[in-house]
Amino acid sequence: MPLKTLDQCSVERLEILAPDGSVDEALDPRLPRETLLHMYRKMVEIRVFDEKAFKLQRQGRLGTYPQILGQEATQIVPALCLKPKDWLVPTYRGQGAYFARGMQLRHSLLYWGGDDRGVKFPEGNNDMIFSIPVGTHLTQVAGLAWGAKLRKDPSVALTYLGDGTSSKGDFHEALTFAGQFKLPAIYIIENNHWAISVPRERQSASKTLAQKAWGYGAFGLQVDGNDALAVHRAVSEAVARARRGEGPSVLECETYRLGHHTTADDASRYRSPEEVEAWRKKDPVLRLKLYLQAKKLWDEAQESSLLREAEAMVQEEIAAYESTPPPNPLNMFADNYASAPWHLIEQRAELEELLKGKQSRREVFELPPAEGRFP
């Protein structure tokens, strides 16, 4: 033979639950009833929220908002495979993941409403704030996982990135570290087929994104990301491997962004309604519902009360968001350093004076008390 073969790899895809609700019995993780119902509830809740948030933006009551419509399984399920002390680092399109871990949705609204007080996660959780420059968190997540490994803490770090983001050099350096040091890190590539207007196939000539794992000595797998059971199984196994010290995983979860990139985008400029329609048929929420119904775990009465409850919960979150008093501009000076240096003390005082001037000219009315640590 002319050439010596050094190594071989095949990239595989995990599918358990088909769009019509039928299930591959051999692969069904047979999750407990509570887990399934909780998962479904969260997926429905976030879908209700997502639609409302979109409308709020269209009514001018919210800033830019990134919809997750269609990605409910990849958003909700992974977080449910973690313990609170595991690190979770979603992307900016990550309100679902945070929500699954207990974040109140009012905080998501505050954030996208332009209020820094929206960055608030439940105490006790190891949730980390996402990064806006995409991919820049990926090396940080390697560091979080590394910390756990070095301190013999059984926690893992799970993070997300988009298909587009897998092109960033940060991905390469993060996976190089994760693979080299066998870090307990899980990288979920949420392949929703689009990076704004650039389709997956123009992002990389790699046949799948999962196969990139091979170049780092990491585990790689493609998963049907609209299949909550497959996502649950793949993530749980990746978490287990990580806890056993077997290193990082790259899970390419194939899903679809049914909405615009964000509310600032108009997806009709670059993709066909037919493509979107075809993906609507693969709906992750409906699919799980069919499964639950087939298992006799769910009926239409439960569905309508869930929808009612979800609407009420979301209304409450919106009300909490909209009744939050405006932030005091001085807040921005809080929490920049553990103790404020002289120039920030000066600058804050200057802003305080400017605000007083604006108040005296009635350009600004009464301000709520300043929040945060200063100095």
Binding site: G63, T64, Y92, Y111, W112, G113, G114, D115, D116, G118, I132, P133, V134, T136, G162, G164, T165, S167, K168, G169, A195, I196, S197, V198, R202, Q203, S204, A264, D265, R269, Y270, P326, P327, P329, N331, M332, F333, N336, H343, L344, Q347, L351, L354, L355, G357, K358
Partner: protein, 324 residues
């Protein structure tokens, strides 16, 4: 007909591409989508996908490939989608773009343009309202341009593309649709390295660039009502600086306020202030004052108007200078 900044730059790009088939555009979403601000709208349709190229999401790749394309002999105009993502490309900018001509003793030249939006005040998400010009103006070998009117935007983008050296071209996003003006239809060049006298005045010089020029003009209007005559200088090019325009205005009025959006410490305003004091000290009636962003990150948009200086802050600085 009045057009806005977006249309003006679009027109400049189009005409530069019509004039020279070596000119090509590349970046994220610049093709079919016409750019997230629509600056490249219609250009892929006119020039094809080989000249208006949607790239993978990889900023170093975009800029590094542009360096290669430029050395090869083409005239790449690349776009970084938002100012906040420029730090990712500083490696190419600092280590290569400005050095290759010198490192290669003139053999490799890098006639490329790096376009990016600039500044705040459009209620954009986090990291989308940055003013990173100081990272560029400290870097040798490059030029840094930032128009504040449609007319200059068109003339400067054409000059930047024709320039034999790399140009970083900032587009004040608050002005994209807000700044309107008459713009000649034919292609024309606005010289790089020349400031614009945006308003003549005699009591004090307001020096500024980008969207802050309009804030200064507003301040000048209000000051006028108080009987204070403020001159407004729109730098247009930050590197190389139009030192003559700066010093002659400073020496004429004897008083200077520099207004800008970036964190003030180590900003380009510091360089300007240092230069003016170094070269015109005896003509000054008061120290030059800088009005800039605070030395903290730009907050989310509900507070951005308290971060970016407004006319109120400029006026306050002017009064402090006048009462020195």
């Amino acid at each position: 007909m009045e057009i806005n900044l977006v249309t003006a730059i679009n027109q400049g790009l189009r005409q530069a591409m019509e004039a020279d088939d070596r000119v090509l555009l590349l970046g994220e979403d610049v093709g079919l989508n016409g750019g997230v601000f629509r600056v490249t709208e219609g250009l892929q349709k006119q020039f094809g996908a080989d000249r208006v190229i949607d790239t993978p999401l990889a900023e170093l790749g975009i800029v590094g490939a542009s360096v290669g394309l430029a050395i090869y002999g083409l005239r790449p105009v690349c776009e970084i989608q938002f100012d906040g993502f420029l730090p990712a490309v500083l490696d190419q900018v600092i280590c290569h773009i400005g050095r290759l001509r010198n490192r290669s003793r003139g053999r490799h030249t890098v006639p490329m343009v790096l376009r990016a939006p600039h500044g705040g005040l459009i209620h954009a998400p986090e990291h989308h309202s940055e003013s990173p010009e100081a990272y560029f103006t400290h870097t040798p070998g490059i030029k840094v341009v930032i128009p504040s009117t449609p007319e200059d935007a068109k003339g400067l983008i054409i000059s930047s593309i024709e320039d034999p050296d790399p140009v970083v071209f900032f587009e004040p996003k608050a002005l994209y649709r807000a700044a309107k003006g008459e713009v000649p239809e034919k292609p024309y060049r606005t010289p790089i390295g020349k400031a614009r006298l945006a308003r003549e005045g005699s009591d004090i010089s307001l020096i500024s660039w980008g969207a802050m020029v309009h804030t200064c003009l507003k301040a000048a209007d209000e000051l006028n009502a108080d009987g204070i005559s403020a001159e407004v200088i729109d730098l247009r090019t930050l590197a190389p600086l139009d030192i003559e325009a700066v010093l002659s205005s400073a020496e004429k009025t004897g008083r200077v306020v520099i207004a800008h959006e970036a964190p003030n410490t180590g900003s380009f305003a510091a360089e300007l202030s240092a230069l003016i004091h170094e070269r015109s000290l005896l003509k000054l009636q008061a120290p030059v004052r800088r009005v800039g962003g605070w030395d903290i990150r730009m907050p989310l948009f509900r507070l951005e108007k308290y971060y970016v200086p407004d006319a109120d802050r400029v006026i306050r600085a002017v009064k402090q200078v006048l009462s020195f």
